[in-house]
């Protein structure tokens, strides 16, 4: 196709009865590039901050297997992607000049030929979402680490996952994934991320608490060095250090590494160990055994068990049973269905630990309850139940 000339442009202006004196001197003749409309280009609407990230040279990654809805991940955030249709035609033009740019360059010639690289009637919209991390725990739980003596690892046919593997499989940003690995106390063994089998974890913890007891160390000052010396013959040094990191807070004092043991977390783990052996327990009996089972100097409290166990105050005698929030569905509606299936009416205090993790940025538990539950009053106390009948 012949390239449009200035003379042709001027003739068109005349026919259109436009006064060239009222226009900037430069015209941009737009034509479709030979490859426009090939569907190779698409538009992504950027949320605040993402534009700056791209300009700084950072990447955005789209993640999702064929059966998952795709998400977009920046370095530290995750976004749901949705197609937005517009009734208008969107043309993308490289090198198209704005009036300011034309005015800033007075020497520019009076005719510019620009090609339209592509066009679309829709674009991708982003909405910040919670990273989809439940799958991370599920993958690592396929093959929990049972210790070096376990025969399983040698003969195991289960997949093991490196950081790279997890980045490819989990719909979350790298920072969110690495943070969650820390939260679930995963560790790297021979380059693979592993979660410890609970029994092995308790075995390690027990070694440490027994040593603390026999050495009469204060719970706030447990020396790493001595632990490694004394326990190194029983378990791998990496595992001893890992259990201290999981259940203590590391600090350095006078050049030596110590741990301040986390009372709440230790009591909670021991409660789990006791509760997992039966469907439910007599609350009073449990509380007694629990207190006796924790290390000297530690005090058990029911609020240490939030998101781990639930007390049934309506049964006589009162009972307690294991209910782990991480075992419940990740999707909001499914989570509420599951909770209302377990118990018809919940107080806000009881349900909060089981829905807290569903809160989006700046969303409150109250907002979630308003959306997914119906409130009523029972014996003067506000309770929540399902909005719909549970089959």
């Amino acid at each position: 196709a012949a390239v449009r000339s200035r003379a042709e442009v001027d003739a068109t202006l005349q026919t259109a009865k436009l006064n060239p004196a009222e226009l900037l001197p430069a015209v941009q003749c737009l034509s479709f590039s030979p490859r426009a409309g090939g569907g190779e280009c698409c538009l992504l609407q950027l949320e605040p901050g993402l534009c700056a990230e791209l300009e700084a040279g950072r990447s955005l990654i789209i993640r999702g297997e064929k059966d998952e809805h795709a998400v977009l991940c920046s370095k530290d955030k995750t976004y749901d992607m949705k197609i937005a249709d517009t009734s208008n035609m969107l043309l993308f033009v490289p090198g198209c000049k704005t009036p300011e740019e034309l005015n800033a360059d007075p020497a520019s010639c009076n005719i510019i030929h620009s090609q339209i690289a592509g066009f679309s009637k829709n674009y991708w919209e982003l909405r910040r979402c919670r990273p989809k991390l439940k799958k991370l725990r599920k993958l690592l739980m396929e093959d929990p680490y049972e210790g070096p003596d376990s025969q399983k690892d040698q003969t195991s046919t289960f997949s093991k996952y490196t950081t790279e593997d997890l980045l490819n499989l989990i719909q979350a940003s790298e920072e969110e994934i690495l943070h969650h690995l820390q939260v679930i106390d995963a560790c790297q063994i021979e380059g693979y991320w592993r979660i410890l089998h609970f029994d092995y974890e308790m075995k390690l913890l027990n070694h440490v608490t027994q040593l603390i007891d026999s050495e009469s160390w204060p719970l706030s000052k447990v020396p790493l060095g001595v632990c490694l010396e004394e326990l190194g013959s029983l378990e791998p040094r990496e595992m001893i250090e890992h259990i201290l990191l999981s259940y203590g807070r590391k600090y350095v004092d006078d050049g030596e590494v110590f741990f301040e043991m986390r009372e709440d977390k230790i009591c909670r783990a021991i409660a789990q160990m006791l509760l997992q052996n039966a469907v439910k327990f007599n609350l009073a009996e449990f509380e007694e055994v629990w207190q006796q089972s924790v290390p000297e100097g530690m005090t058990t409290r029911l609020d240490q068990l939030q998101g781990l166990a639930l007390v049934d105050k309506s049964s006589r005698p009162e009972t307690i049973f294991l209910l782990k929030v991480e075992d419940l569905p990740e999707d909001n509606q499914e989570r509420f269905n599951s909770l209302f299936g377990i118990r018809q009416k919940w107080t806000e205090v009881d349900i909060t630990p089981y829905i807290q993790d569903l809160c989006a940025e700046k969303q409150t538990v109250g907002a979630l309850l308003t959306k997914y539950a119906r409130s009523s009053t029972l014996n003067g106390i506000k309770v929540y139940n399902s909005r719909r009948p549970i089959s």
Binding site: T12, L13, L18, L23, L30, C51, M89, F92, A117
Partner: protein, 111 residues
Amino acid sequence: SAGTGALAQWVLVELQGEVEPRQSGDLAGSLLGDLHYTCEGIPVLIVGHHILYGKVVQLEKPFAVLVKQGGAPQPSPTEPHGHYTVTALIKTKLLFKTRPKPIITHVPKKV
């Protein structure tokens, strides 16, 4: 992921309705029209027999232009699986919303 080097800045041109090729066939390779600006900076687009007046809009939410790697056409427009490169950013659009004014080239003579 982003390509190496600084990202190009493109401009979005938004038109109401459809754009159809003058001759039959694809839009690819064909002329759209002449884009002028008035001295006040108002964009004026002459497309075929129409004059479109618009405005320059700074986008609150800029766009990224993604180019699919691998060349294969999109299997499903609702799921963006695959590898994409950010080719350019778009922070400005020329929005043509006003109804086009037709260019009358021939006035029938009174008989």
